[in-house]
């Protein structure tokens, strides 16, 4: 029996030990950060330190960090900044927490690599009613493909639109400088970078007017009410600091990922690697094996003790071809046979060995059966 191999870091990452230590300590302490007595003041002080760490991860100022319950809430909060009834442009490969938070989103097309079509964006920006907001993620959760945010922000600003960037998957996997990129709002999630679930942040530039989703006690400078989740915020702070310090190690995973893809291609030359080449997160691989449904693959791999994903984890239970891969022009057959393998801070070369072995066995078995005339269902479009 081999040890279980977790290769679904883009769904959630295991907590780093230092994060667990900090949170275990914080959870046994008591205090409402808004209380004026000593317990409250101590809670407030640790909260401020965490805010510094999260700001530093993305090159922002502490005052620009608004803690939320996670990336989804941060995205929803940012989108409210557009104001009611205004045009909002959204890339075709955005996460559901952006796509579904915009009532009448205008979809910016992407190319075969998943990159925003800048000419199309420009044409959309130039139309008579100027858009208020452009939403483009920094890196895609399914393919890892990154976007040219500096160019997008430049273009958007030239036409008077604000830019919101979902950096939930990118943070900790690539360097981010929100000031240099001139992004107006940036969403972060702690549990994707080794921090706890249930905490995220929206980083907003000073001039941005938000419309709070949650109203009440006036916490987070009035932008987000609710008792501050101090233990989780402290865990987020530690995870943000470690992510910054360990960025080189994360980027080194790129070589492991590339070698893995080469081996898969040698086993089955018809394997399709999504969004290959430069401009991809070092930890993410989205690979399709034509003719083998993704669901079949993940079930077979799970039986072999390997956790990968057939798409994003959020779409609770529903099986449908990925909107991301479809937007990139992938055929329903390819999109339906793609799995996501995502590496992270605890991934060792042996894990990749196990995965490649299990994957090879699976492909040989299924394709062998196919050649023997067994029917393997291919998902419909």
């Amino acid at each position: 029996m081999t040890r279980p191999v977790y290769l679904d870091y883009n769904a959630t990452a295991p907590l780093k030990p230092a994060v667990i230590d900090t949170m275990t300590a914080a959870l046994t302490e008591c205090g409402n950060a808004s209380s004026v007595h000593r317990f409250g003041r101590l809670a407030r002080r640790t909260l401020d330190a965490a805010r510094d760490e999260v700001a530093a991860l993305v090159g922002a100022e502490a005052r620009q960090v608004i803690f939320t319950s996670g990336g989804t809430e941060a995205n929803n909060l940012a989108i409210g900044a557009a104001g009611a009834g205004r045009r909002i442009l959204v890339s075709a490969v955005e996460h559901d927490s952006v796509l579904r938070a915009v009532a009448d989103a205008e979809i910016i097309p992407v190319d075969a690599r998943g990159e925003v079509d800048l000419a199309a964006l420009q044409a959309m920006l130039e139309r008579d009613t100027r858009p208020a907001l452009v939403c483009v993620m920094l890196a895609n959760n399914e393919t890892g493909a990154t976007q040219p945010l500096a160019l997008i922000a430049h273009l958007a600003h030239a036409h008077g639109a604000l830019v919101h960037c979902d950096a939930v998957q990118a943070a900790g996997k690539m360097a981010i400088d929100v000031t240099g990129l001139e992004i107006d709002a940036l969403a972060l999630s702690a549990h994707k970078l080794g921090g706890p679930q249930g905490i995220g942040a929206l980083v907003v530039r000073d001039h941005i007017e938000l419309h709070p989703l949650l109203r009440g006690g006036g916490q987070e400078r009035g932008w987000r009410a609710g008792t501050e989740n101090v233990p989780a915020i402290r865990g987020f702070g530690v995870a943000a600091r470690l992510a910054r310090e360990e960025l080189a190690a994360m980027q080194a995973l790129g070589a492991l990922r590339d070698a893995m893809e080469q081996r898969l291609l040698r086993v089955a030359p018809d394997v399709v690697v999504m969004a290959p080449g430069a401009g991809r997160l070092p930890n993410t691989s989205c690979v399709a094996v034509p003719g083998i449904p993704a669901e079949t693959q993940v079930v077979a791999l799970d039986l072999a003790g390997i956790a990968v994903s057939a798409g994003s984890a959020c779409s609770s239970g529903k099986v449908r071809p990925s909107h991301v891969l479809r937007a990139m022009g992938a055929s329903p057959e390819i999109a339906g046979s793609a799995i996501r393998v995502s590496l992270g801070w605890r991934t060792a070369p042996e894990d990749i060995e196990h995965f490649v072995d299990a994957w090879t066995t699976m492909v040989a078995r299924i394709r062998g059966n196919q050649h023997a005339g067994r029917v393997i269902p291919v998902p419909a479009a």
């Binding site: 679904d8 300590a25 004026v36 809430e73 559901d96 927490s97 109203r215 609710g226 501050e228």
Partner: protein, 421 residues
């Protein structure tokens, strides 16, 4: 790492010993985690770290199973079905979701909301914002004891009323509203009944059927569970519908998108389970402590006023005003007690509590009010120590107060015409 005082049952041999750390008597602001809750959560910070929405592997399934168990634990405490529990980031979100969600969903037919002037700020702020969206809101006054007058409530409901939102227990004065009567009234008028149970869930018996509650806001960190987690009970029959606040992956049956924080859900569930088992014993203990404290203070100090009804009240809450002292001076005099002079959310400001003002408490007395919250880990020794400190501080301040001197001499200071300088 900063050394922060830990709250565990503190053993003191005598009530007058100087404590090494402040005595925590602010259980309505937040509660320390019960060690049993933390123990239940720990595996989900460690080896069971999966995303409960991952459908493809064991890591996801074990997280999902834990979340669903927690959902049942929460439901069981209020007589609900687990499918009626929506996890949120806390009671603030639950209140926002319930009130704005119902108002926006039914706005084509109904545009009126009834609530109380003494509700938590997050209820009032949500209502004020809905007024900007075109809704009409009636903010009902309360009686001197803090309780709603049912006749006043009955008269406020119209054919256009979509929702009545009345809190179960007040965060400042702990008074418990007549939920069953309000529920019956709302049901008979075809109006949804939402109740903010942030302070009541896990503290007093609640039953959504018997009390005809349609929506209930629940908090984790007020019942010895973690911060950052809460829930909204949403009735299925007759069905209550909501416009969500947070859109995305469609989790929580579309009511609330976002990855569920498994350890926090588990913590809320465990806290609810403990509350269900221990509520009766704990309340008996808290009543004893509260009576002991109140007697100790009032036996030694005259001119002490209890704010809010004593009978219909959370067993762990007192809110008392001390005449002839100055509020800030009092807080300075009891620095080693962690108590609150108003709700924690607003206590950083020096505005007198709007809850006390709604009860008709004068500004002077509102300024010298203390909210004293007793809880699971409060000891008799702590209660005695706190009573001694407060009595000492009040006596000292009164000795320095010319107003107190005048009052002792029989001068009615409310009748004095002060000269302007």
């Amino acid at each position: 790492m900063a050394t922060v005082p830990q709250i565990t049952a503190v053993k003191r041999t005598s009530g007058s010993n100087l404590p090494k750390r402040p005595v925590y008597l602010d259980y309505q602001a937040t509660t320390p985690m019960d060690p049993r809750v933390l123990e239940a959560m720990m595996p989900y910070f460690m080896e069971k770290f999966g995303n409960p929405h991952s459908r493809n592997h064991e890591h996801g399934w074990e997280a999902e199973e834990a979340v669903e168990k927690a959902r049942k634990q929460v439901a069981d405490l209020i007589g609900a079905d687990e499918r009626e529990i929506v996890f949120t980031s806390g009671a603030t979100e639950s209140n926002n979701l319930a009130i704005a969600g119902v108002a926006r969903f039914y706005k084509d037919r109904k545009d009126h909301i009834v609530t109380l002037q003494t509700e938590h700020k997050c209820v009032l702020d949500t209502c004020r914002h809905l007024e900007l969206e075109g809704f009409k809101v009636t903010y009902l006054p309360v009686k001197k004891d803090g309780l709603v007058d049912l006749d006043v409530l009955r008269n406020a409901i119209t054919d256009k009323t979509a929702l009545v939102s009345v809190m179960a227990a007040n965060n400042e004065i702990g008074v418990i509203q007549p939920l069953k009567e309000i529920g019956e009234l709302c049901r008979s008028r075809g109006v949804f009944f939402h109740t903010d149970c942030a302070q009541a869930f896990g503290k007093i018996p609640l039953d959504v059927e018997a009390m005809k509650i349609d929506l209930m806001s629940i908090s984790g960190h007020k019942i010895y569970g973690p911060k950052g987690i809460g829930a909204l009970y949403v009735r299925r029959k007759p069905r209550v519908r909501l416009v969500p606040l947070i859109h995305g992956g469609g989790q929580e049956r579309g009511f609330r998108s976002g990855t569920l924080p498994t350890p926090l859900c588990v913590g809320l569930g465990a806290a609810a389970e403990i509350a269900r088992r221990e509520m009766a014993d704990e309340n008996a203990k808290l009543l004893k402590l509260r009576d002991r404290f109140y007697k100790s203070v009032t036996d030694r100090l005259p001119e002490v006023y209890l704010n809010g009804d004593l009978k219909n009240r959370l067993p762990g809450n007192l809110n008392i005003s001390f005449a002839y002292v100055e509020g800030e001076g009092l807080m300075m005099g009891i620095k080693d007690l962690s108590v609150s002079s108003g709700s924690a959310c607003t206590s950083a400001s020096l505005e007198p509590s709007y809850v006390l003002r709604a009860l008709g408490v004068t500004e002077d007395l509102a300024h010298t009010s203390l909210r004293i919250g007793f809880g699971r880990f409060t000891t008799e020794a702590e209660v005695d120590y706190a009573a001694d400190r407060i009595v000492e501080a009040v006596q000292k301040l009164r000795q320095m107060s010319p107003l107190w001197e005048m009052a002792q001499e029989g001068i009615d200071i409310t009748k004095i015409q002060w000269a302007a300088h």
